[in-house]
C-alpha cells in the first residue's frame, strides 16, 4: 500500500475565532466591526432557543407532534442564515429553524408543520426554499439540481444545503457532491456534525478523520469550522457563497457542534450517551460565548438580555396562540394538491372523505 509515488493528498483546515468563554482565539471577520449585526446574530440565536424550548414543552403537553430540538445548533443555523442572500435557495434537514427564521419563515409555520399541518411549509418570504426534508440526505440531489438550474440560467444565485453527520453515510450525499464538483455548481454544503445520528456516534458512522474530507474525493474544497461560533460560521459560509456566486464552484463546510437535546421528543439520549459528555458540551455551547463576547465589547448587558427574553417570549406566545387557534384543514386538501387538476377518478374519494369527516363534527 505504501510503495509508489504520491499522486494525491489533502489537508483539512479548522477555523474558529470565538473561544467558548467569548474571548478571541482567532482573527475577527471584517463584518464584526458592525455592532448592530453582531447583536442581530445573538438575538436570532436566543430567539431560536426560546422558540425551541417552547416547542418541546408543547410536545410534552400534547399540543405538538414529534419535534426535533435545535438546542446547541443555534450558531451554525443562524450563521448560515445570515450569510445567505434572500434570493438564494435553502435546503435543510429538519432542525434548522434558526436558518429558516432568519430567512423569514414564521414561528407559526414551524409550529404548524410539526403540529401536523402542511400549511406550515408555505414560506411566504422565500418561496423558492424547500421544506424540511425527513428522508436522510435525499435533499442533496435536489439541491444539486437547483444549483444546476441556476448555473444553466447564469444567475448570480447560490444553493445552500444542510446535511447531518449521519447523512454523510448516504449515497445521495456522495452522488450530489460528485455532480457538484464535476459541473462546478454554485452549491455550498454545510455538514452539521452534532456528533450523534440518533444513538450512533460519528466514530461508528465512519472511519474518516473529518467529515469535511469526504468532499475531497469529489474535488471540492472543504473546511472544518467551530459550529458553535456564529462569527466563523457566518464568515466561512459567506465566503463560500461569494465564491460560488462568482462561478468558483462548490464548497463543503463541516460545522462541529453538539446535539444538546434528545434526537427528537420521541428519543431518550440517556440510553446511549453519558451525562458527563453532555455537561462538557454544555460548557462550550454557542449562546453563552456570543453573549460573553458582546458584553466584553460593551455591546450587551443584563437589561438588553431581559428585554430580548421578554420580546422573544411574547413572539413565541403570540405564535403559539395563533397555532392553537388554527383549525385543521379540510379533507379536500388531501386531494387538491396532488395534481394541478384533480384527476376525475379521485372525485369520488374526495367526496367520501368529506362525508366521513362531516360525520365526525
Amino acid at each position: 500500500m505504501s510503495s509508489g509515488k504520491v499522486v494525491a493528498g489533502f489537508e483539512i483546515h479548522y477555523r474558529g475565532c470565538l473561544a467558548s468563554d467569548g474571548t478571541l482565539c482567532g482573527p475577527l471577520p471584517a463584518f464584526a466591526s458592525d455592532p448592530e449585526l453582531l447583536r442581530q446574530l445573538y438575538r436570532a440565536m436566543v430567539r431560536a432557543r426560546v422558540f425551541d424550548t417552547k416547542a418541546v414543552n408543547l410536545q410534552r403537553t400534547g399540543k405538538l407532534g414529534t419535534y426535533p430540538s435545535c438546542l446547541g445548533h443555534e450558531a451554525t443555523h443562524v450563521g448560515v442564515g445570515s450569510a445567505m442572500r434572500a434570493e438564494d435557495v435553502l435546503f435543510t434537514v429538519y432542525r434548522e429553524i434558526g436558518t429558516k427564521f432568519w430567512r423569514g419563515v414564521e414561528m407559526l409555520d414551524v409550529l404548524l408543520y410539526w403540529g401536523g399541518d402542511e400549511r406550515g411549509t408555505n414560506y411566504r418570504r422565500t418561496p423558492q426554499d424547500f421544506p424540511f426534508c425527513v428522508p436522510i440526505a435525499s435533499q442533496m440531489p435536489q439541491a444539486a439540481g437547483a444549483a444546476l438550474a441556476i448555473q444553466i440560467r447564469g444567475e448570480p444565485r447560490c444553493v445552500l444545503v444542510f446535511i447531518g453527520d449521519g447523512g454523510t453515510s448516504q449515497g445521495a450525499f456522495y452522488e450530489a457532491l460528485n455532480m457538484a464538483g464535476a459541473k462546478q455548481l454554485p452549491l455550498v454544503c454545510v455538514i452539521v456534525n452534532n456528533r450523534w445520528a440518533i444513538s450512533v456516534p460519528v466514530s461508528v458512522q465512519t472511519a474518516a478523520q473529518t467529515l469535511a474530507q469526504k468532499a475531497i474525493a469529489a474535488g471540492i474544497p472543504a473546511v472544518q469550522v467551530d459550529g458553535n461560533d456564529v462569527l466563523i460560521v457566518r464568515d466561512t459560509v459567506a465566503a463560500a457563497l461569494e465564491r460560488a456566486r462568482g462561478g468558483g464552484g462548490p464548497s463543503v463546510i463541516e460545522a462541529l457542534t453538539y446535539r444538546l437535546s434528545d434526537h427528537t421528543t420521541s428519543d431518550d439520549a440517556t440510553r446511549y450517551r453519558s451525562a458527563a459528555e453532555v455537561e462538557a458540551a454544555q460548557r462550550i455551547e454557542p449562546n453563552i460565548r456570543m453573549r460573553a463576547f458582546l458584553e466584553s465589547r460593551g455591546l450587551w448587558n443584563d437589561e438588553a438580555e431581559a428585554a430580548l427574553r421578554r420580546e422573544c417570549g411574547e413572539a413565541v406566545d403570540a405564535a403559539v396562540k395563533q397555532y392553537l387557534a388554527t383549525p385543521k384543514q379540510s379533507t379536500d386538501t388531501m386531494f387538491d394538491y396532488l395534481y394541478a387538476q384533480l384527476p376525475p377518478g379521485l372525485r369520488a374519494q374526495r367526496e367520501d372523505a368529506r362525508h366521513y369527516s362531516a360525520l365526525k363534527t
Partner: protein
C-alpha cells in the same frame, strides 16, 4: 413529415418542445454526444448546446433528484433513466419527493418534469434491462404514468408530458422503439394524458392493454375477427391516474374483459383494473375477468424472454376462454 420509428418520434418531440420552450432541458446518462443508448436524444446537444442537454454522472437517484430541484427552480427537465431495471435507486426521490412536492408545500413548489425510460423486454438485452415495473410507480399518488404504443402517440404524449404541470413518468416500450415506421406530423400537437385510446372497436369482448402488448393484442384481434369475433382493443396509455370511464363504458358494452400486461401478475396494474371493473360493473359482466400477464417469476435472461412475455397464442387463449365462459 414522413414515416418514422418511435424512437425518432420521441427525438422529434424533444426537439420541437426545446425549440418552443427555452426552459426545457434534457439530462441523463449518455444523453449528450452519444444521444442516449437508444438515440432518443440524438443531435439535441449539437443543436441546443451543452447547457440544455446535460450528461450527468452515473447515478439514477441523482438524476431523479436533480430533476426535482431543476423543476422547482423553474426549468422543465426531461430526464432519461437508461433502463427501467435501474429505476430502484431513483425510487426514493420519485416517491418521497417528486410525487409529493406540490402536496407537501400546498402548491408552493411544483415538479413539472418528465422522467423517461425504456420499458419491458423483447430485444435480447442483458440482465436488468427488460423489466416492466409500472406498478411500482402507479402506487404513488401525485405521479402521472404514461406508456405510448405507437410513434405518433409517443410524439403527442411526450409533448403533453413536457407541458404537464406535474411530474410524468414516461415509459417507452423498447420492443416498439424500432418496430414499425409510421407517419408522424411534426406539428407540436399534444395528445391527451389521462385518456385511453380505443385502438380497435368491437362488440364481443374488451381487451385492455398498454405499451408493446398492444401490438400482440391487435394481432390477436385480427385473428379473432377472421373467426367472426369482434374484440375491442383499448390502449390504457395513461397508467396513472387511469381513465376508468372509457374502460367501464367498453365493458358495459361488451360484457367481457381480458387484461393483458407484460409485467408480473401479482399486485400488477391488471389487478387494480379488475377490482375497479368488479366494483363498478360486475352485473354487466357475462364472464369472469381474466388476466394474461407475465408470470410471477424473475424476468428471465433473453433466451426465455419470449416465454415470459405473453405472446399472441396466450392472448388468443385468454380471449377464447373469456368468450366461452
Amino acid at each position: 413529415m414522413g414515416k418514422m420509428t418511435m424512437v425518432e418520434a420521441i427525438n422529434m418531440a424533444h426537439a420541437w418542445e426545446m425549440a418552443q420552450d427555452p426552459s426545457v432541458v434534457v439530462l441523463g446518462e449518455d444523453v449528450g454526444a452519444n444521444g442516449g443508448v437508444f438515440r432518443a436524444t440524438a443531435g439535441l446537444q449539437q443543436r441546443f448546446g451543452k447547457a440544455r442537454v446535460q450528461d450527468t454522472p452515473l447515478a439514477e437517484g441523482l438524476i431523479a433528484g436533480a430533476a426535482i430541484g431543476m423543476a422547482a427552480e423553474g426549468l422543465k427537465p426531461v430526464a432519461e433513466i437508461q433502463f427501467m431495471g435501474f429505476i430502484y435507486p431513483a425510487l426514493d426521490q420519485i416517491a418521497s419527493h417528486m410525487a409529493r412536492l406540490r402536496n407537501r408545500t400546498r402548491g408552493r413548489l411544483t415538479c413539472p418534469l418528465v422522467l423517461r425510460m425504456p420499458h419491458g423486454g423483447g430485444i435480447h438485452a442483458p440482465e436488468h434491462h427488460s423489466e416492466s415495473l409500472e406498478a411500482l410507480l402507479c402506487h404513488h399518488p401525485g405521479l402521472r404514468v404514461v406508456c405510448p404504443s405507437s410513434p405518433a402517440r409517443a410524439y403527442g404524449l411526450l409533448l403533453a408530458a413536457i407541458r404537464e404541470p406535474d411530474p410524468v413518468i414516461f415509459l417507452e416500450p423498447v420492443r416498439l422503439y424500432r418496430f414499425a415506421r409510421q407517419e408522424v406530423d411534426d406539428d407540436g400537437r399534444a395528445l391527451p394524458i389521462g385518456s385511453c385510446f380505443v385502438l380497435r372497436a368491437g362488440s364481443d369482448l374488451t381487451v385492455v392493454t398498454w405499451g408493446a402488448m398492444t401490438v400482440d393484442c391487435l394481432k390477436a384481434a385480427e385473428q379473432m375477427a377472421a373467426e367472426g369475433v369482434s374484440c375491442e382493443i383499448i390502449d390504457l396509455s395513461t397508467l396513472a391516474p387511469i381513465d376508468f370511464d372509457t374502460l367501464l363504458d367498453s365493458v358495459v358494452k361488451t360484457g367481457r374483459l381480458l387484461i393483458v400486461h407484460e409485467a408480473v401478475r401479482t399486485a400488477g396494474l391488471g389487478a387494480e383494473i379488475a377490482a375497479i371493473v368488479a366494483e363498478q360493473a360486475l352485473y354487466d359482466l357475462e364472464a369472469p375477468i381474466r388476466r394474461v400477464t407475465g408470470y410471477d417469476t424473475i424476468m428471465p435472461l433473453y433466451r426465455l424472454e419470449h416465454d415470459f412475455i405473453p405472446g399472441v397464442a396466450r392472448i388468443l387463449d385468454g380471449i377464447r376462454a373469456t368468450l366461452a365462459d
